[in-house]
Every structure is written in C-alpha cells, then in structure tokens.
Amino acid sequence: MILETKQLTKQFGGLFAVKDVDFTIEKGKINAIIGPNGAGKSTFFNLVSGLYRPTAGQVIFKGRDISSLSANKVAKLGVARTFQTTNLFEQASVFDNVVVGHRLRTKSTLFDSIFRTRRLKREEEQCKEKAIQVLQFVGLNHAVDQRVANISQEEKKRVAFALALATDPEIVFLDEPTAGINPDETAELSELIEKMAEKGLTICLIEHKMQMIMNLAEQIMVLNYGEKIAQGPPDEINRNEEVIKAYLGGSTSA
C-alpha cells in the first residue's frame, strides 16, 4: 500500500463532490477510478495531488499525511499527475516542454541563473538528460525537436506522460489519458501504461473506455455522486449490480 485515503471528503457549498471515500492503492499496480460524468473522479485526483484541500478526511502517502500540503510539495514527495487537457506550451518544442519537468529536483536559484554557475550548468544538463530519457521511454525520440503545435493528439498525451515521469515520481495519476484519441492509439497508450507499471511505478488512472480499463487495471474503484460504490478486481466490478445500475440506470437485469 503506497497511498491511502481515509474518509476523504470535498464539499463545494452544499454539494459533496467527494464523500467519505476510503481507497487504498497497492504499490506497483495499475489502479483505475471509473464512474459516470460528474461522479467526482477529477475532484478526487485534485485532492490527492494537493490542488484542492479536503473538507474532511486524509490522504496518506507512504505513511505520511499529505492532505494539508500544497501541490508542489506533494509532487516533490513523488506524486505526479497529468491533466485531462494536456496544457502544453504549443509554440515550444517537445523537448523544451519536458525539460522543466525535472526542475523540482534541482536547486539552482536566480543567482545561479544570472552568473551561469557550475551548479546551474550541471543541473541544466541533468534536466536535459532526464528529458531525453523520458521522451525515449514514452516513444517520442522522433518528435523531440518538433513544435508541440505540430504533433498529434496522441503524441501530446505522450508528452504529458513524459512530463509527469520527468519529476521522478513513485506514483502517477493519469486523468483520462486516452480521451479524444482513436482505438488503435488507445491500445498503444495502454501498452505504455503497462510499461510504466513494469518499471515499478504505481499507476492510478481515470478512464471512460470500459474495455480498456477491464484489460488494464488490476484494481478498480467506482465512484457515483461522489461516493465509492464498489472496489475490486475487474471481473468483480463487471458483475457488481450497483455498478451496472449506476452506469445503465434502472433495473439490474439490464
């Protein structure tokens, strides 16, 4: 168990976006969160990665309560994430976009930048090497020097993965990694996600593509109206009546 939430709750005004969610993420596995639109999946991600502060409950990462830490501190501890929209800088090259990903592991200050100190040069080199390494890992060797505006949606997703990996994370949260790309590309991205897990990374993703999730994930949590309605391995989730009801609505015979 690498990350755990206890009674995690987020309230916006009178609305519970996430309510009393207990979830445990096993180390080195691929975990998934599914649920209908507006079920609170993204809010859950924002809570875990520190962008939102929980109204109640705790997020525990490697035995440490991180619920009150700001997002940048959470990232430093080894929790990385991607966003539904890729948020990349379109006018810059793929490489330039990814270099900054390793910034959190460097210590160079303003002084180093102005005087081009040895530390800055060393750390810049380190960031660039890291960028090349993660771009290779996600299979973008060919696009390193291309402008982000000129690459495909699927490649942009890979750049976002590379950015997350450049932070040297232990756990990666992927927010709808295959939204807006075609089935073939989806399969390729699934392979990449598996490759990340094989490398020892813990993965947690939000996804709408059921078939993909069922093949990929080892553990699934289902959210509905902010509450956890099921958790377990894919075949169990597949048979769960409440999940079927939430997804298809109405009778369980559907």
């Binding site: 940048n72 810059a92 180093d112």
Partner: protein, 328 residues
C-alpha cells in the same frame, strides 16, 4: 550551427550600429531621443519578464518607474546623497516596494491581477502628485544631478550619457537573456503556460511569481533612476497610466514574450512618433489601429511574426532535405 553564428553576427552588428549611431547622425536631438528610447527599453524588458514570460500583466509598471525616478531624485536633491550611492539605492527601494506590493497583488490572477495593479499604479501616481511636502507635487523635482565621473571618464556630455545608458541596457539584456535561457526562465514560462501544471510539476508558483514580479519592478526602478539623472527634472506625469500603456504598446508591437521584442517595438514606435509629430495627438489614430491589427493578426508582435516565418522556412528546408534523402 550556422544559424547560431548568424544570430551572433546580427547581435554584434546591432551593437556596432548603436555604438556608431552618434557619429552617423551628428544630431544631438536624435541622440537624446535614442538615449530615452534605451531607457524605455529597460523598463519594457522588466514588463516583458513578468507579462511576457510569466503571464502576469502588471499595469503598475509606470508607478514603479516613477518610484525609481523619485527615489533617486529625493535621495540626491533632498537627502543630499552622492550620485552613485543614490544610483544604487533607488532601484533597491523600488524593488522593496515591489516586494511588498507583489505579496498582495499576486493573490489575484489574470484580469483581476491587471485591474488590481492598475489601481496600485494609479495610487502611486496620486501619491506622487498630491504629496507636495515630499515630492513637490505638480511642480516636480528639479536640480537632479547628472551622472558624476567614473574615474577620468566624464559622464556629463550627451554623448557620454548615451554610452552610459547603452552600457546599462546591454547589461540588462544580458541578465534577461541568461534568465530566460536558464532553469529560472523555464520555470517562469511553465507558470505562464499553466499554473496548475507547474504546481503539479513541483514548482512553487507563489515563490516564482513573486520573484518575477520583484525583478520586473527592479528593472522599472533602474529605468526610472536613469530617466531621472538623464532628464534631471521629474514630474508626476512619469507615473501616469499613459506611460504604462506606452510601455505596453512597445512590448506588444515588438513581441510579447520575445527577447528582441522590447527593442523592436520601442525603436519602431519611438521613431514613428518622432516622425509623425506634426500630427500631434492625432498620431493615436495611427497607433490605435496598428495595435489592434497587431493583436488580431500577430499576437507575437513583429518578433513573433519573424520567428514564425523563420520556423516555417526551416521546416520547408528540412522537408526538402528528407525528400532528397528519400530519393537517394
């Protein structure tokens, strides 16, 4: 590789041109206009660092320019400090004020930040204008000393002052260049790009935004200080919101978030308005549409247009190259 040498050649050529400029024109008025343009450029570089590279549009820039100018004026005229000590302390005072204002201003974002800083700028202007006991109000501040000698070098002639301001401009550009092309610059750009993404990459946005803000006020302070000792008379008008919008125009026309933008924009607009002086305030009839067209058709300004053209040309070249390779 060749392109590096090319751009280096361009930079060396421009520096030589700037050095030779006084001998080319032989006109003291042109020299004066050029020196002033250099001072504006320094201020625009400060604005560009914050608005162009970090994504926070501050409309208090003229206010900080005025703080630099008045700090220098008051330190020399009223406190009787020597030229060089005042020259160093004035930008530091500006930076300190910038730090305090930045702490509060940066709690807002986007247009709220712009509106907040607009108010801050106006309050600074009002303070300068109405606090007669300190600033002399609308009468302004006179008797500011010209730069005193550096050893045997006399800095009182217009020619010497031109080179003095030019040297400081070069230093400012060097510092900005290094900043932008370092991890610090990449951090600023990441914040401009998406603050949430920057945060989740472990970047402390609060700290880096404040750093960028403080730096931008520092450059405004230097520009203000130079203005005070070059013009040697300052009135509250230099803190007016019009100055902020002038600086903004220079930056946008030149190219927001580009390294050469502040030079291109400032030179273009300053000389254009010199040559159109016979039109008086009707000049704005030209600048207004120019700015609008720029924002619509080339948000990256003139520099942005150029680099776009350059990138396209390179793309074509490399496409040709790979085609040729395939045929072989």
């Amino acid at each position: 590789m060749t392109s590096i040498f090319k751009s280096r050649n361009i930079v060396i050529g421009l520096i030589l041109l700037a050095i030779l400029f006084p001998f080319i024109t032989q006109n003291e008025y042109f020299l004066h206009v050029m020196t002033l343009a250099f001072i504006w450029m320094i201020a625009v570089y400060g604005l560009n660092l914050l608005a162009g590279y970090t994504g926070y549009l501050s409309l208090a820039h003229a206010g900080f320019f005025a703080i630099g100018a008045y700090a220098f004026g008051l330190l020399t005229v009223k406190a009787g400090l020597g030229f060089w000590s005042a020259f160093i302390i004035a930008p530091m005072i500006t930076t300190a004020v910038g730090f305090l204002i930045g702490l509060i201003a940066l709690r807002t974002k986007e247009h709220f930040f712009a509106i907040y800083t607009l108010c801050v700028g106006y309050i600074i202007y009002l303070l300068v204008d109405k606090w007669e006991g300190l600033t002399g109000g609308v009468r302004g501040l006179i008797g500011i000393p010209a730069p005193s000698n550096i050893g045997p070098v006399n800095l009182s002639t217009p020619l010497a002052q031109y080179y003095f301001v030019f040297a400081i401009l070069l230093l400012v550009i060097l510092v900005i260049y290094r900043l932008i092309h370092s991890l610090t610059g990449r951090t600023f750009i990441a914040i401009r790009n998406s603050e949430d993404l920057a945060l989740s990459l472990g970047i402390s946005t609060t700290k880096n935004k404040l750093l960028s803000f403080v730096l931008s006020t520092f450059f405004a302070g230097i520009a203000g200080t130079l203005y005070a000792c070059f013009i040697r008379f300052i009135g509250p008008d230099i803190g007016n919101i019009n100055i902020t919008f002038d600086l903004l125009t220079y930056m946008i026309v030149g190219g927001i978030g580009t390294l050469s933008g502040p030079i291109v924009g400032t030179l273009l607009i300053v000389w254009l308005s010199q040559n159109l002086q016979f039109l008086q305030d009707y000049r704005m009839l030209i600048f207004g549409p120019l700015l609008t067209l720029m924002v619509i058709f080339s948000p990256g300004g003139i520099s942005g247009l150029f680099s776009q053209w350059y990138a396209k040309r390179n793309l074509k070249k490399s496409a040709k190259f790979t085609k040729a390779e395939e045929q072989v």
